[in-house]
C-alpha cells in the first residue's frame, strides 16, 4: 500500500509526464529561479519542471530495459546450465560469466562504454552486461534446486519437450526467486545509471533523465537546489517504492503458501 503510493508518484510522472510537458520554452539563463519556472532552470537554462516531466521515461525505460535484458540473457543461461547434464556445456556457459564477474565493474563500465555507442541503448546494454553474471548465478542456483526435484524427472519420464520442462516448469518455479531478485536489481540498475552519468559514460551529458539531472545540476546546488533535489527524490522514491512493492507481493504469496493444507 505504502509502496504503491511511494512508487506511484514517480511512475505516473515518468509515464505520463511527456504528455503534459508541452513544447519546450526558450532557454533562459542557467540555474535561475522564478521567471515562470516554478522549479527554476537547469544547467543549460532549461525549465526544470519540464525536464522532470521528460526525464522519468528514459530512466524507467532504461532501467526496465536493462533489467529485462540482463534477465533475457541470464535466464536462458541459468536454465540451460542448470538443466543440462553435460558438464562441459555447463562450464562453457558459466565460466565466461565468472571471468566477467572478476572484471571490476568500474573497469567494465569504462571500457564497454567507450566501445559501444553512447546513448540509451548503449547504457542499457552496459548495465545489463554488468548485471548478467550475478543474475545468471541466481537463476542457475534457483533453477538447479528446482531441476533436482523429482518433478523434472517425472516430466522426462513423460517424454516432455525440453522447452516445456525448462520454461513451463523450472522457469515457472524460479519466478519467485526472480521476483525477489528483481526489486534489488532494479535499485542496483538505477544506481548504475546514475553513476554512469557521474562518470560521463553512456549518456548524453544534457539528456533529460533524472539520473543525469542529479549529476549535471549538482554544480548549481548552492544556487538552485531544486534541479538536483527533485529528480533525486524521485529516483529514491522509485527504487524504494518498487522494493516495498516487491516485498509486499512476496509476503502475500508466501503467506498464501503457508495457508495451504
Amino acid at each position: 500500500m505504502l509502496g504503491g503510493v511511494v512508487i506511484g508518484v514517480p511512475l505516473v510522472l515518468a509515464l505520463l509526464g511527456p504528455l503534459f510537458a508541452g513544447e519546450p520554452d526558450p532557454r533562459g539563463m542557467s540555474f535561475a529561479l522564478g521567471d515562470g519556472h516554478w522549479l527554476g532552470t537547469d544547467f543549460v537554462g532549461r525549465d526544470v519542471w519540464q525536464q522532470v516531466l521528460h526525464g522519468g521515461r528514459p530512466v524507467v525505460l532504461t532501467a526496465l530495459a536493462a533489467t529485462a535484458l540482463a534477465y533475457a540473457v541470464a535466464v536462458p543461461l541459468g536454465l540451460l546450465s542448470a538443466l543440462t547434464h553435460r558438464r562441459w556445456l555447463e562450464e562453457l556457459l558459466m565460466r565466461p560469466l565468472d571471468v566477467l564477474l572478476a572484471v571490476p565493474s568500474l573497469l567494465l563500465i569504462l571500457l564497454v562504454a567507450s566501445v559501444f555507442e553512447p546513448g540509451a541503448v548503449g547504457l542499457a546494454l552496459l548495465v545489463a552486461v554488468v548485471n548478467i553474471p550475478d543474475a545468471a548465478r541466481i537463476v542457475r542456483a534457483a533453477a538447479a534446486e528446482v531441476a533436482a526435484r523429482p518433478a523434472v524427472e517425472a516430466l522426462r519420464m513423460q517424454g516432455e519437450t525440453w522447452w516445456r520442462m525448462a520454461v513451463g516448469y523450472v522457469g515457472r518455479a524460479t519466478l519467485r526467486t526472480l521476483a525477489a531478485d528483481a526489486g534489488v536489481r532494479l535499485t542496483g540498475v538505477l544506481y548504475l545509471v546514475a553513476t554512469a552519468a557521474f562518470l560521463g559514460v553512456g549518456v548524453a551529458p544534457d539528456a533529460a533523465d533524472w539520473a543525469v539531472m542529479v549529476d549535471r545540476n549538482r554544480t548549481g546546488l548552492a544556487v538552485q537546489p531544486w534541479a538536483v533535489v527533485v529528480p533525486a527524490l524521485l529516483i529514491v522514491a522509485l527504487t524504494t517504492g518498487s522494493n516495498l512493492l516487491f516485498d509486499a507481493a512476496l509476503d502475500k504469496r508466501s503467506t498464501q503458501k503457508e495457508r495451504r493444507p
Partner: protein, 317 residues
C-alpha cells in the same frame, strides 16, 4: 580436510585461469577503444606526424600480440612493465594507489561489520515492529541514493555549513592517516550503501533462521533468546553476509572512483581512470591483474566462510 585442501587448490588454479581470462579480455577491450596512447597524449594537437612519432617512441607500432606477449613474459618474472605515458614502472603506480585505497577500505570494513550486523540484528530482533520497519525503510532509501549525491550533501552540510570536518583530503596524498578528520566524510559515504545491503541481508538471514525448526527446537529446550539469536540465527546469516562482504571489499579495493574524485584521494580508482583515458595499456593490464587476483582471493575466502557456516551447500568448484 584433504577435500578442503584440494578444493582450495582447484579454486586457485581456476583463479589463475580466471585472471588470465580477465587480462585477455581487458587487453582486447583496451585495444578496441578508439584511439591509442599516442592519440590520447596528443590531445587537442593531433598533428599526424607527432602522433606517429609518439607511437614509434612508445613502440605502439608493433603488433598487439607482440606487446602482450612481451608484457606477459615480464609478468612471469614479477615485472609489471612500464607506463607508456611516463615510462615509470607500473608496480610503482599500483603501490602508490594501493595505500590510500587500502586505508579507506580497511576503515570502511572495520566500521561496516559492526554497523551492518548491529542494524541487521536489531531489525531481526524486532521483526515486524516499529524499529524493524524504521531500519528496513531507512536502509532501503539510503541504498537507493547514489554516492555522489550523498557525498555532495554531506560535504555541504557537515563541512561547508557547519565547518566540522575538512571537505576534502586535497594535498594529503598518502599521508592520510595524519589527517584523520579528512577521512570521516569519505568513509561515511563509502559506508552508506554496504551498511544497508549488509543489514538487510543479516536481517533476512536471521528472520529466516529464527523461524526455522532448529531455532524453535533450541528455544524449546530453554536456550536463552540471546543465545538462539547469536549462536543459531546469526551463524545462519553469516554465509550470505560473508559473500556480500567479499563483494564489498572487492568493490572497495578495485576502485571507488566516485569517492576518490569527490574527496581527492589518489587511490587505485583514480589511477585506473587516468590509465584508461591515457590508453596506458600496461597500467590498465597491471591493474587488471591486481583486481583479478583480489577478486579471486576474496571470493575464495567468502566461499570458505560459506563452507564453514553453510556446510550443507557443499563446495562445488
Amino acid at each position: 580436510m584433504s577435500g578442503l585442501r584440494s578444493f582450495v587448490a582447484r579454486r586457485l588454479l581456476l583463479g589463475v585461469a580466471q585472471t588470465v581470462a580477465v587480462v585477455l579480455l581487458v587487453f582486447a577491450l583496451t585495444e578496441a577503444l578508439p584511439g591509442d596512447a599516442a592519440v590520447a597524449l596528443a590531445g587537442d594537437q593531433p598533428d599526424p606526424a607527432r602522433i606517429a612519432a609518439i607511437r614509434e617512441a612508445m613502440q605502439l607500432d608493433r603488433p598487439a600480440y607482440e606487446r602482450l606477449a612481451d608484457w606477459a613474459a615480464g609478468l612471469l618474472h614479477g615485472d609489471f612493465g612500464t607506463s607508456l605515458a611516463s615510462g615509470r614502472p607500473v608496480s610503482q603506480y599500483i603501490a602508490d594507489g594501493f595505500g590510500p585505497t587500502l586505508l579507506l577500505a580497511a576503515l570502511t570494513v572495520v566500521l561496516l561489520v559492526p554497523l551492518g550486523f548491529g542494524l541487521g540484528v536489531l531489525a531481526a530482533q524486532h521483526a515486524g515492529r516499529l524499529i524493524d520497519r524504521l531500519v528496513s525503510s531507512v536502509t532501503l532509501a539510503v541504498y537507493a541514493v547514489p554516492e555522489f549525491a550523498l557525498g555532495v550533501l554531506l560535504v555541504s552540510v557537515l563541512a561547508l555549513q557547519l565547518g566540522w570536518l575538512p571537505p576534502t583530503a586535497v594535498g594529503y596524498g598518502t599521508d592520510l592517516l595524519a589527517h584523520p578528520a579528512a577521512l570521516v566524510l569519505p568513509v561515511l559515504v563509502l559506508l552508506s550503501r554496504p551498511v544497508c545491503s549488509l543489514a538487510r541481508l543479516v536481517r533476512a538471514g536471521m528472520v529466516d533462521a529464527l523461524a526455522a525448526p532448529y531455532a524453535v527446537h533450541a528455544r524449546r529446550y530453554g536456550i536463552t533468546g540471546a543465545r538462539v539469536r547469536y549462536a543459531h540465527a546469526l551463524t545462519n546469516a553469516l554465509a550470505p553476509a560473508a559473500q556480500q562482504l567479499a563483494r564489498t571489499v572487492d568493490w572497495l579495493l578495485c576502485g571507488v572512483i566516485v569517492v576518490e574524485a569527490l574527496f581527492v584521494i589518489p587511490g587505485l580508482g583514480t589511477v585506473l581512470l587516468n590509465a584508461v583515458a591515457e590508453r596506458d595499456v600496461p597500467v590498465v593490464q597491471g591493474l587488471a591483474v591486481v583486481f583479478g587476483v583480489l577478486t579471486v582471493v576474496l571470493n575464495l575466502g567468502a566461499d570458505l566462510v560459506a563452507h564453514r557456516f553453510a556446510p550443507r551447500a557443499g563446495v562445488a568448484a
